[in-house]
Amino acid sequence: MLTIKNLHAEVEGKKILKGINLEINKGEMHAIMGPNGSGKSSLASVLAGRDNYTVTEGEVWFNGKNLLEMSPEDRAREGVFLAFQYPVEIPGVSNINFLKTAVNEVRTYKGLPPLEAKEFLKLTKEKQQLVDFNTNLMNRSLNEGFSGGEKKRNEIFQLAMLNPQLAILDETDSGLDIDALRIVSNGVNKLRDAEKSFVVITHYQRLLEYIVPDFVHVLYNGRIIKTGTKELALELEEKGYDWLKEAEHEKESV
């Protein structure tokens, strides 16, 4: 579904990604871990098309299409979803109006008619329950004055509404208390199916107790330096990243 080949990217002249290779198949759950500043969020941003990143080398293919040539909106319409680490507050745009616009623009792109008001409402009601998203928040301005947990639940709610093929969760667990973490994780787990793939970017192993990954990758200094299964996350929790960093530096110095 997603193939990343030798991806290099920089921001303001600073090299951030230095040759990422990653293959994600249908239905897989991938976790990307790594210390601060290793390039985890940058990878998410490059995949979603944030324009302050410049891709200097490499390719990204999504269902046989060149993702890097698409505008951010077309990537979303093709089925790539980024749950933001810091969801943006937009006063004056109501949550519901935003969602309706997004859902219908994606439908139009796919050649489907816009949802009738009644169908849209039904879908909204159904998906709200997934993350216990308060109906009062629907009519409020997008994320404005939402608590940290409400913002992250809103991201997962949007994910449910837009039903993408590939969801990238950028530190969705950061800043969540244990109850909110459980709600968000349950929402994600209910959305898992054989057609949908996930990339979960996290700093903490804690999240992976709730969302069990098929693969765990360690990103350091702009490269994936180790790939394993869920046991790797436990090992990282126990030993930290230093043993991997040291091994990496030894390799470099050879």
Binding site: G49, P72, E73, A76, I90, P91, G92, F98, V106, S141
Partner: protein, 434 residues
């Protein structure tokens, strides 16, 4: 009154203004005095403080306008162009300021007087309130209007009259030749009266350009309330100088909204409110959305004479292309006007590379126990917000429309007529998607 004065318009205004002799009617003295004031002051220039950023003479010279006082008429189809979907209202159609009764549906009842200005000079409120707002006599073009206006709409609501539905006032501007038209209106709400008036403009497609120099006097007496919306649907063949002069009695509420939409090359809105009683509320809300080389100048004056009054002014502008806007917010708090709250904000989105805003707050405060503030901002689209919307599949144009609507929401949320609110938000969306 002579109908069309066949001397070159601009020459008459600048050199031989006495040739525009005042008509023979009951307002003769008032008109003559106004004409003398106009002749003495002349047309504003860029050196006139209130017109520093708007070169009115350039626009007056642009076409060989003729004074046009002949009543024009229009058709139902044209008037219907102003229709606002879902709005349940009375409708009054004015063509170049002349009431066209056949297309109008007026509220009726005891204590309601609505009719042409020319037919209302005997109404009790007319002589008492006509041309009494003092700021009118200091504004050159308002004096010209007083001296030479032909007609307009007179409304007088006696005490306790509440109009049950909004009055939709449709202004049609039409002429075969380039015309300078001067509508003049006077609206009086006596004690406890209440009404909502929505003004719209319609401009049939035609070669000739209409230049309107209109004056509306608004009198909101004790504990009365007026919601006044001025929707300026633009057109290439229109130039608009619009003066609203309001005065408020004790405990009254006046809510004035202006929406200036694209295409009219020149819009100048003069708005002054004098607070003559205490404990009043005044809301002045403006939204201007300008494209091309449009010039939009909002010139406002809140005159606080009495204590315990609240005024809240918020103008927001979205400027595309090479549009140019001017905002002046003058607040005068007199020595007796203690416990005044007077707030003012002017926020702008400069979306065109060469779009420009000149904004000037002018606060003159002579009382010592007041709360007054003013603020100004100019900005662009928030990049983070744009990316967030686009990352959800919303195209760039739709995202911009959403963000402009969001920017406008402090003004549009205050619209108390839902159909009008939908209409304005729809207009913003349509303009941004175009």
């Amino acid at each position: 009154m002579t109908s069309d004065i066949m001397i070159p318009f601009y020459q008459a205004l600048t050199e031989d203004v006495t040739a525009l002799s005042a008509p023979q009617d009951s307002l003769q003295d008032t008109r003559r005095e106004a004409l003398e004031r106009f002749a003495a002051a002349g047309l504003p220039t860029l050196k006139t403080e209130a017109w520093r950023f708007t070169n009115i003479q350039r626009f007056l010279k642009e076409y060989p306008y003729e004074f046009s006082n002949t009543p024009a008429t229009t058709t139902a189809n044209v008037a219907d162009e102003a229709a606002i979907a879902g709005l349940d209202s009375y409708r009054i159609v004015l063509v170049n300021g002349h009431l066209q009764a056949s297309l109008s549906n007026l509220p009726e009842g005891k204590g309601i007087h609505i009719g042409a200005m020319s037919a209302s000079t005997d109404a009790p409120g007319f002589s008492k309130w006509f041309n009494q707002q003092k700021h009118l006599s200091t504004e050159s073009l308002a004096n010209l209007n007083t001296a030479l206006f032909a007609d307009g709409l007179f409304i007088e609501l006696q005490a306790n009259v509440v109009i049950d539905k909004p009055i939709h006032l449709v202004h049609v501007y039409t002429s075969d030749r380039h015309a300078f038209v001067q509508p003049r209106h006077l609206w009086i709400l006596h004690k406890n009266a209440a009404a909502t008036i929505i003004e719209s403009t319609v401009h049939p497609k035609q070669e000739a350009v209409a230049f309107a120099n209109s004056v509306t006097e608004v009198v909101v007496l004790e504990n009365a309330e007026l919601w006044h919306y001025n929707v300026q649907q633009g057109a290439e063949n229109f130039r608009n100088v619009n003066t609203t002069a309001a005065q408020q009695g004790a405990d009254s509420r006046y809510h004035h909204f202006s929406f200036t939409l694209p295409n009219t090359p020149l819009t100048r809105n003069n708005l002054s409110v004098i607070l003559k009683g205490s404990n009043t509320e005044t809301n002045l809300k403006g939204l201007y959305l300008a494209t091309g080389s449009q010039h939009v100048d909002n010139h406002t004056f809140m005159d606080h004479l009495q204590p315990n009054c609240n005024s809240n002014e918020h103008y927001k502008g979205v400027l595309l292309d090479t549009a140019n806007a001017v905002f002046t917010g003058r607040i005068h708090v007199h020595q007796d006007a203690q416990k005044t709250n007077a707030f003012q904000q002017n926020n702008n989105m400069l979306l065109g590379d060469k779009a420009n805003i000149n904004s000037q707050p002018q606060l003159e405060i002579y009382a010592d126990d007041v709360k007054c503030s003013h603020g100004f901002t100019a900005g662009q689209f928030d990049e983070e917000a744009m990316f967030y919307l686009r990352a959800r599949g919303i195209g760039e144009e739709s995202a911009k429309a959403l963000l402009v609507n969001a920017f406008s929401h402090d003004v549009t949320d205050e619209i108390a007529v839902p159909a009008l609110q939908d209409y304005i938000q729809g207009q913003i969306e349509a303009i941004m998607n175009n």
